[in-house]
């Protein structure tokens, strides 16, 4: 569905990343795993066209495209909810900004809010609900983009450990229930192991993909699955080695 070849971005002549290749088949959950500050967000901004790319091609359903700006939905580490709108109005933003049929959008947003456990809170303001609920509302808004590809930029890293575990299941729903194709970046090894079909381990400065790991275990997965634990040790060793090199 999505192919990226030889993507590069330079700042002052120095590569932030170069030669990045991705191949994302429909319905797959791929995770880019790397340390903080290695240029992951720059990669996403380049993919979505927020900043221009310096080299490389992006192919979407066998057609070359300049960027994915109007093809993907996007969810950020911050919930980015507007404090002056209710959860419902926040969920309706993508429909409103694109001039869609608001009555239909309202129905769908209402269903999604209930599905993600926000029933009864539709008309609360973001400051009246918990961080986890805000993040779920951001997830509803992401679904309301109505796009097949979803980019997740460390969507859970602002949450506490307990809330985060609950939200991880919700992220799985994107794949299992809503049949989305997902590209996510994170620095959390456990999160990557629980969610991903493919993990790409990133090296910093300049960022590059140093390793690809396929995980064909059924989901939801258990933390203590021996195969996951082995893979985790393997990845951590690899990351530390990369750091030292």
């Amino acid at each position: 569905m999505l192919q990226v070849t030889d993507l590069a971005k330079y700042y002052h002549g120095q590569p932030v990343f170069s030669g990045v290749d991705l191949d994302l088949p429909a319905g797959r959950f791929q995770i880019l795993l790397g340390p903080s500050g290695c240029g992951k967000t720059t990669l996403f901004n380049t993919l979505t066209g927020v900043i221009p790319k310096d080299a490389g091609t992006i192919t979407w359903q066998d057609e070359p495209v300049p960027h994915l700006g109007n093809l993907c939905a996007y969810m950020h580490q911050k919930d980015l909810l507007l404090p002056w709108f209710s959860l419902m109005d926040n969920a309706l933003l993508p429909a409103r900004t694109r001039g869609k049929d608001m009555a239909a959008a309202r129905d769908r947003a209402g269903q999604l809010l209930i599905r993600l456990g926000l029933g009864g809170y539709e008309f609360h303001r973001p400051d009246q609900v918990s961080g986890g609920m805000r993040q779920r509302c951001a997830l509803v808004r992401t679904l309301m983009f109505d796009r097949d590809l979803i980019l997740l930029d460390e969507p859970l890293s602002a949450l506490d450990a307990i809330t985060r575990q609950r939200q991880q299941h919700l992220l799985l729903l994107l794949q299992t229930e809503f049949a989305k194709t997902i590209l996510m970046i994170t620095h959390d090894v456990d999160e990557a192991l629980l969610l991903a079909d493919d993990i790409f381990v990133l090296t910093p400065m300049p960022m590059g993909i140093s390793r690809q790991i396929k995980l064909d275990l059924p989901k939801p997965r258990a933390f203590d699955d021996p195969h996951l634990l082995r893979t985790k040790a393997d990845i951590l060793a690899h990351l530390v080695k990369g750091e030292a090199a």
Partner: protein, 246 residues
């Protein structure tokens, strides 16, 4: 009321009492410095005489605020939308504030006459600047990550403006408006000093010439009260519009 809330009224009371006492003890003539009790008395008893003047000044201020709003808002938005506009206009904006209104006042009376127009214009010049600057600052302070979100939602500039930038800038807009209304009285009164047939500034000049000092002070008291009312109204409006916590 909390203890700290009592400090300001207490201090004012103390100053007024000291003033009242000093004037009595040293037998200062009323035409030089009337005691506060006399000022208050004049402000109340002479109210029928003061009221029409206060109404004129009030109307000038309100018209000035209205004009300032309908010019400052589009101007700030235009400067925000097009950096070219900001670059071109900001020297003029700064110049409009660098020239003291006092210097312009006599000219404005020549150009716009002794009526309300010259005073409204003066109030407008003074008010629109803080509103424009703070609104522009507010629009610019929008978190770039929200902007990215709106870009990816395919939002037009107008949609982004109404749904994101404008509400985002509202607290700063109100801060500017509050500064604007608190200095608005200055513009109107200076205009009236230079040449007018009515208004509190006119009343002050007239009474001053006749050594009716209590009336001068009473006019100032009325002016201060009007400023305070405007300030409070803006505060109430802000509280009713900005109901969310950022």
């Amino acid at each position: 009321m909390t203890r700290s809330g009592l400090i300001a009224p207490g201090l004012i009371g103390l100053i007024l009492a000291g003033w009242e006492g000093a004037v009595k003890i040293w037998a200062v003539p009323v035409f030089i410095l009337p005691p506060p009790s006399r000022i208050l008395e004049t402000a109340v008893i002479q109210a029928p005489q003061i009221l029409p003047h206060a109404a004129v000044t009030g109307a000038e201020i309100c018209l000035g605020i209205f004009l300032a709003l309908i010019t400052a808002i589009p101007l700030a938005v235009a400067m925000f939308a097009k950096p070219m506009v900001e670059k071109t206009l900001s020297p003029f904006l700064v110049a409009s504030q660098a020239i003291p209104v006092f210097a312009l006042a006599p000219l404005l009376v020549i150009w716009l006459g002794y009526g309300m127009a010259s005073k409204v214009f003066m109030a407008w010049i003074i008010i629109f600047f803080p509103i424009t600057v703070s609104l522009l600052q507010g629009l610019k302070s929008c978190d770039p990550e929200y902007r990215t979100l709106f870009t990816l939602m395919g939002a037009s500039f107008f949609k982004t403006l109404t749904l994101l930038y404008w509400p985002w800038a509202l607290p700063q807009f109100f801060a500017g408006l509050r500064v604007g209304v608190s200095v608005a009285t200055i513009g109107a009164v200076i205009g009236e000093w230079v040449g007018a047939q009515q208004g509190l500034g006119f009343l002050m000049i007239q009474s001053n010439a006749r050594l009716q000092t209590p009336l001068v002070f009473a006019a100032i008291l009325w002016l201060a009260a009007m400023g305070l009312i405007l300030w409070t109204l803006v505060g109430l409006l802000e509280k009713n519009i900005i109901t969310w916590k950022s």
